[in-house]
């Protein structure tokens, strides 16, 4: 009898999650290299304990996972010679104290020794996993599509672009970083573009309409709880009259 209330509650909990994820996507609308997060739900079917005909089955909603939308974001020209965008599948590899991390945000800088680092100062790695050092007096840095860095005409290193067999297995670590237990391979169909940054791939129109949907569904679930409540009240009143 009270089941419909619980079903509505399950729906509301799920919608609350969905709103958190939508809000996070919107908050990162202007975050370089950010990839939108999507939520997956599945039904949870509760079998009736006693065999009744017709079978009294209940299915409520549970979240099974979030997945990342790896579609490319819009490229934005910055004019900075250490800003890179990856065209195609692939990630930059960076060295975190906790191990190798991967990122799509290519807004790199030099540190005081001339090492190529991320905004957080983590060294960017080449395909072999070593850090990249530029000569301190380099004036013109040109990076070709395959990541080879030429400082004033001399090739001094190569920015590594790695790819994963299953990018959905990557774990988000925040700060634009992803970690993985899998070993990446060198990307085959990725091209580096210098002087550009990949913007977030969040689609604002979609997220806003999604948010309106969430709100309406939440209210609808609420209606269900309300009418269930009314039904119960009615029953109590009528039974009491007899």
């Amino acid at each position: 009898m009270e089941n419909s209330g619980y079903l509505a509650l399950a729906r509301q909990v799920a919608l609350d999650r969905a709103l958190d994820i939508t809000a996070n996507n919107l908050a990162n609308l202007r975050t370089s290299g950010y990839k939108a997060e999507k939520l997956l739900f599945e039904q949870y079917v509760q079998r009736a304990t006693s065999p009744v005909t017709p079978p009294n089955e209940m299915s409520s909603v549970v979240q099974v996972g979030t997945f990342t939308d790896y579609r490319p974001g819009a490229f934005e020209q910055t004019g900075n010679q250490l800003d890179f965008a990856i065209q195609g599948d692939g990630f930059f590899a960076v060295q975190d104290p906790a191990g190798a991390r991967y990122t799509r945000a290519g807004n790199f800088r030099l540190d005081d020794t001339g090492q190529v680092v991320t905004q957080d100062g983590l060294p960017v790695l080449d395909a072999g996993g070593s850090t990249i050092q530029l000569p301190p007096d380099a004036r013109q840095i040109v990076v070709s599509g395959d990541g080879k860095i030429a400082a004033d005409g001399n090739v001094v290193g190569q920015i590594g672009v790695m790819q994963f067999a299953d990018p959905q297995s990557l774990v988000r670590e925040g700060n634009g970083l992803y970690s993985s237990s899998a070993q990446p391979a060198q990307a085959t169909d990725a091209t580096l573009v210098q002087g550009m940054i990949e913007g977030a791939n969040v689609q604002p129109v979609l997220e806003i309409t999604h948010m309106m949907d969430i709100l309406r569904e939440f209210q609808a679930a609420q209606q269900m709880v309300d009418s269930q409540h009314e039904l119960a009240m009615n029953a109590i009143n009528k039974i009491a009259k007899v």
Binding site: D16, R17, L19, D20, I21, T22, A23, N24, N25, L26, A27, N28, L29, R30, T31, S32, Y34, E37, L40, V64, G65, T66, F67, T78, G79, N80, A105, N107, R109, L110, D111, D112, T113, G114, Q119, D120, P136, D137, R139, D166, Q168, S169, L170, V171, R172, E173, G174, N175, G176, P204, I208, M211, M212, I214, L215, F218, Q222, V225, D226, H229
Partner: protein, 261 residues
């Protein structure tokens, strides 16, 4: 309702973005100004179901977990050191830098600051100073009876005197470069200071390897591109509004809950 605080981080980030953009627009005609850009990163993630965790004894594992992002944060406001346009002024003591290098300025505190703004003047004793009166390094004194001052592309300052054919070499302006120019700290008045992130200054003269050249009678304008700043401003404003929408939605959902009987 994490959405409330997530939306708030988004709004704060966009507010900072608008502040950075308006500072760029405010400095669109500031000599030697370099545009700045706010860089954002996603905040931490809450792992509710970690991807790849085993789901059975037979070795099956979760193909995708539940990761809830908690918003956005500002990673850095980085300076874009692209060359600004050169503007002709015909002022003898205006010097523009073409290529890398900063003028060295001595602050009243005795510290050294660095600047790309080359509008110099003479102090009462003839020393070449910045528009704030801070001496440009090394101290170069232009004698009062000099009729003309010429600054070469290497930064050598020559003075011409009445009755003398050959100019007199008064000294050479020195320049500094840094490995990481983004690491310099802005202290206002178009001045920058060395930090541990920028690395130690490499002092040299204009025209030597790794240094740019000087151009007398020109100033380096600001490298702010107004069109792109305005488009960024529009994007920042829209992003701000959308984040306010997620707060609004969360609020309405909370309101629905409070109407529960």
């Amino acid at each position: 309702m994490r959405a409330l605080s997530i939306g708030a981080t988004g709004m704060m980030a966009q507010q900072l973005n608008v502040e950075t953009i308006s500072n760029n627009i405010a400095n669109m005609s500031t000599t030697g100004y370099k545009r700045e850009r706010a860089e954002f990163q996603d905040l931490l993630y809450q792992q509710e179901r970690r991807v790849g965790s085993p789901t059975s004894d037979s070795g099956t594992e979760l193909p995708s977990g539940v990761q809830l992002g908690l918003g956005v944060k500002t990673a850095a406001i980085s300076r874009d050191n692209e060359q600004g346009p050169l503007q002709k002024t015909d002022n003898k003591l205006d010097v523009a830098m073409q290529g890398p290098g900063y003028f060295t300025v001595q602050l009243p505190s005795g510290d050294t600051a660095y600047s790309r703004a080359g509008f110099f003047q003479l102090s009462s004793d003839g020393t070449i100073v910045t528009s704030d009166g801070f001496p440009v390094q090394p101290n170069i004194v232009v004698p009062a009876n000099a009729i003309d001052v010429v600054i070469s592309s290497a930064g050598e300052v020559f003075a011409y005197f009445d009755g003398q054919v050959a100019p007199q070499n008064l000294g050479q302006l020195e320049l500094a470069t840094f490995v990481n120019t983004n690491g310099l700290e802005s202290i206002g008045s178009s001045l920058l200071k060395e930090t541990t992130a920028s690395g130690a200054a490499t002092v040299g003269v204009a025209g030597s390897p790794g240094f740019g050249t000087m151009l007398q009678g020109y100033l380096e304008g600001s490298n702010v591109n107004v069109v792109s700043e305005i488009t960024n401003l529009i994007q920042a404003q829209r992003a701000y509004e959308m984040n306010s929408k997620s707060i609004e939605t969360a609020d309405q959902m909370l309101q629905t809950i409070t109407q529960l009987r």
